[in-house]
Subunit: 100 residues, 4 copies
């Protein structure tokens, strides 16, 4: 069971709020608002995206790395991520994209 | 004239693409896709946001700082940004938000 | 055994190279080099720091989270990090500092 | 006159503090300190580097872009940066490196 299902509602709320923020940037451009204001709106979307990514990283580590041995014993889950090293590879590809 | 009007169409395209990417994240969560995939989608939205911000920064510097003296002479524009120092203050508040 | 001991030499080389890069920034300021050049030197130090952090994050996850159950069985190590959740807390405090 | 000369002492202090922080990371590795602590030290060096870069960016914009017309009139300076567009190109190459 992909861990995102557990906190699905919470993650969906975050993403929908971000969608709303992106629409606010679009409206600001359509309304030819001061570009300093547009830059602030874009900066706040980035902050929200960073918050979402931190949430996903934490869930990935706790559910696919920390809990991997336990899930393997119980035979539960989607069969992919009982290998904590594979889950670590996936984590690191995102971390390195952020830490270029 | 806020500089965003000059490149309005181009900026709007960028923002709408980003909106589409955020919707893709939402769909991935709804479809309970592998969280590694969700993280990659979020990382690509961040990359697109960074590209948009770089575009806005460059426009802000060229139109509200470099071109300020010229615009002041011509009496053109929205009356706000003929003061390049004020425009620099606005730029730096965004830069410092990114360089925390 | 803190995982940094295992790759100590490699990590020390990275940090010493970064120290050398910081000294290069200092020299550039002393020599009143073009500020664009100073900015490039600072940007390259940041790149090297990001590479070092990615290395430390990967080691922390593999040695203190993935290997935690095994180390707990063998009774090896420094007694701190056989709790993968505690190690995840430490990881997330760094991740959230980067993802503000 | 490269703007870094004006605030040379202040910038040098910042860089030397960062040098000291990098040495602290080196000592922590030599002393095999907990890797969570090493990660925190590296995160604080990054914060200091970001502060230095924001300082350099602000100076570059105010001295080589905002002040360019004035400096061109007075015939002062190092002959490079009386072209605010060239100085903007230099600024954007650093901004885009940070906003990958």
């Amino acid at each position: 069971m992909s861990h995102t299902r557990k906190n699905k509602a919470q993650l969906l709320n975050r993403v929908r709020r971000i969608g709303g923020q992106v629409e606010a940037v679009e409206r600001a451009l359509l309304d030819e608002v001061e570009c300093a204001k547009v830059m602030q709106l874009v900066a706040s979307v980035r902050g929200a995206m960073n918050g979402l990514m931190a949430e996903l990283i934490e869930e990935h580590v706790r559910n696919h790395i920390v809990a991997a041995p336990e899930m393997a014993l119980e035979g539960e889950g989607d069969g992919h991520h009982h290998d904590p090293n594979e889950a670590t590879d996936e984590l690191m590809s995102v971390v390195r994209a952020y830490l270029k």
